[in-house]
Amino acid sequence: MSIALKELWRQPQRFLPVWVALTLLVVLLVILAGFLDGLSRSQTGPYRAYDGDVFVLSDDANLQVQRSRVSADALTDQGLDDVADVGFLDAAFTVAAVEGTATGNTSSDNSDDGTNLQDVALYGYSMSSSVLPHAPDAGEVVVDKQLTRQIDVEVGDRLVLGPSAEPMTVAAIVDDLSAGAPTLWVNGDEWRRLVGTINPALLPPSGQHLALIAQPGADIKASTVVEQVDQIDGLEAADVADMIGALSVVQQQNATFTAIIGVTFVVSLLVVALFFALITLEQTRLYAVFKALGATTRELLTGISVQAVVLTLIALAVGMAISAVLVAALPPTLPVRVLPTRLLEVAVGLLVTSVIGGLLTARRLLRIDPASSIG
């Protein structure tokens, strides 16, 4: 084994090209994965806010919150013993600015200089979650971190919302819950009042909400609640993953990025396989000598695998460092989110890919005749 490592250490120039290629592929994979997760997360914040809970919509809404109308008491008296708590969710798009900074016209200046109107998604809610605090009082609003990245806003600041510039006080700042735009969260009555000033056509009839959120009781699976709610006439339930899956843009992006990441892995496999195939060709004589001196094909294969693994590890380390610098250099408004679990997937995936690429030389190694070391 140490022979393989010594070769790597003492003849690095031989391995430089494949290492460069692998490092670049790592950068590509990490950034692709970062966009995959970032784009997806930037559109699904409100769902993630209720992770573990069940969304209840009208069954004609195709799981699209915007189009759903559910009666506020649709789940009461239904004998749902497995549901611990029920809340609601209402949503509308509008604009917001820090009070006193809203300019009349945005076409000339679309920048993030902290003085402009921002597109925001306004949510009305009732039930707190691991991310959301209790619904704020009248005149108060909870904002997510994404808004603070776009304009300078702190707890206690006053925002103005919608075309009629309704003033609201920032009560809390929560984790990024973007839904294509920064999100603002108010209580249900405030939502109705505000949306009435934004676009009354968006208001569901009195006593109705866009969606209800059912919190499963302790030790109850979300899927159990989904099944029960689906039995109720006119309702359709889904867990967070299914809600996200129902977003066609997210679905398309995921499919696209997953396909591209898959092809990138295949390219990595080819790079490694081609490289070690060539190195084996080049070193046929040396491997024959190794065999003559008593090495088995398995030992030679192990050596190549070790080289592939070490090369990949170094490429991963350097590639991820480069990616970190690249990501940091990207505009902060770009939806890139590098998740540790995803990095781990990339690392494991690439290691497995390289080992397979290295092992593809097995046939070639097996064919090397130790007798060719003589004569």
Partner: protein
């Protein structure tokens, strides 16, 4: 018991019209502590004889017994272990590993087959290098050594695992006359002092003095078990 016993060994390459008989019913015995030279024109089968004796190739028929072990039925794995433990090879092209130092080239053979480099191995490598006059070259890569020095490292590597049989292929082909003599003297000294058997394939007339016995091979057949340089003497010179 002899170090090497070949009985009716045939080696045939290819089949049908392509058939080439490289070894034709060769029988040969090499005693412990004997240095046997095999001479013959190119294509006569002397290299094949060496590869069959060293377990690099299996004979088509006949038996190959090394140090009392019949290797005729060995599979690839068993042959690899056999080569590692029982045979020392000195290759014509030296074949040192370019990215390993002289010392590491010696230790190399200890690492195959799951072996470990222990103090014993390191001591042996150092003492071999000292014997070969390379003590101060132990940390040099082959590219930093002269041709003669490289050949000496190769001899050290062949002796590293204390094999009872050393097989030497054209040891002087790439060395000039004087260097060739020096290397052969050293090789003979190391082999004789350890009481090992050696088979040396060569067509270099100038080194025949080092042989205990010389056999000629032509067209895969041993034609003569010729000059007994000094049949019983422990050293040729």
């Amino acid at each position: 018991m002899s170090a090497l016993d070949l009985k009716d060994v045939r080696k045939v390459y290819g089949d049908g019209d392509q058939k080439v008989v490289a070894l034709d019913n060769v029988s040969l015995s090499v005693a412990d502590n004997e240095m046997l030279f095999i001479m013959g024109p190119s294509g006569s089968g002397k290299t094949t004889l060496l590869t069959v004796a060293g377990g690099l190739l299996q004979a088509t028929s006949g038996s190959v017994v090394v140090g009392g072990t019949d290797i005729s039925g060995f599979d690839g794995r068993e042959l690899a272990a056999f080569r590692r433990d029982r045979i020392g090879f000195v290759f014509q092209a030296v074949n040192l590993v370019p990215f390993l130092t002289a010392r590491e080239n010696l230790l190399l053979v200890r690492q195959f087959g799951g072996g470990k480099i222990d103090t014993d191995a390191r001591d042996r490598a150092d003492s071999l290098l000292t014997d070969l006059g390379l003590a101060d070259r132990a940390g040099n890569l082959p590219s930093q050594l002269s041709g003669g020095q490289q050949q000496r490292v190769a001899i050290g590597r062949a002796l590293m695992n204390e094999p009872p049989l050393v097989l030497v292929d054209e040891p002087t082909s790439s060395l000039d006359s004087e260097l060739g003599q020096q290397v052969m003297e050293l090789l003979t000294k190391e082999i004789k002092s350890r009481g090992l058997a050696a088979v040396v394939v060569t067509h270099d007339d100038r080194i025949l003095d080092f042989a205990d016995r010389i056999v000629q091979i032509v067209d895969g057949k041993l034609t003569s078990d010729s000059s007994d340089n000094s049949s019983a003497s422990p050293s040729g010179r």
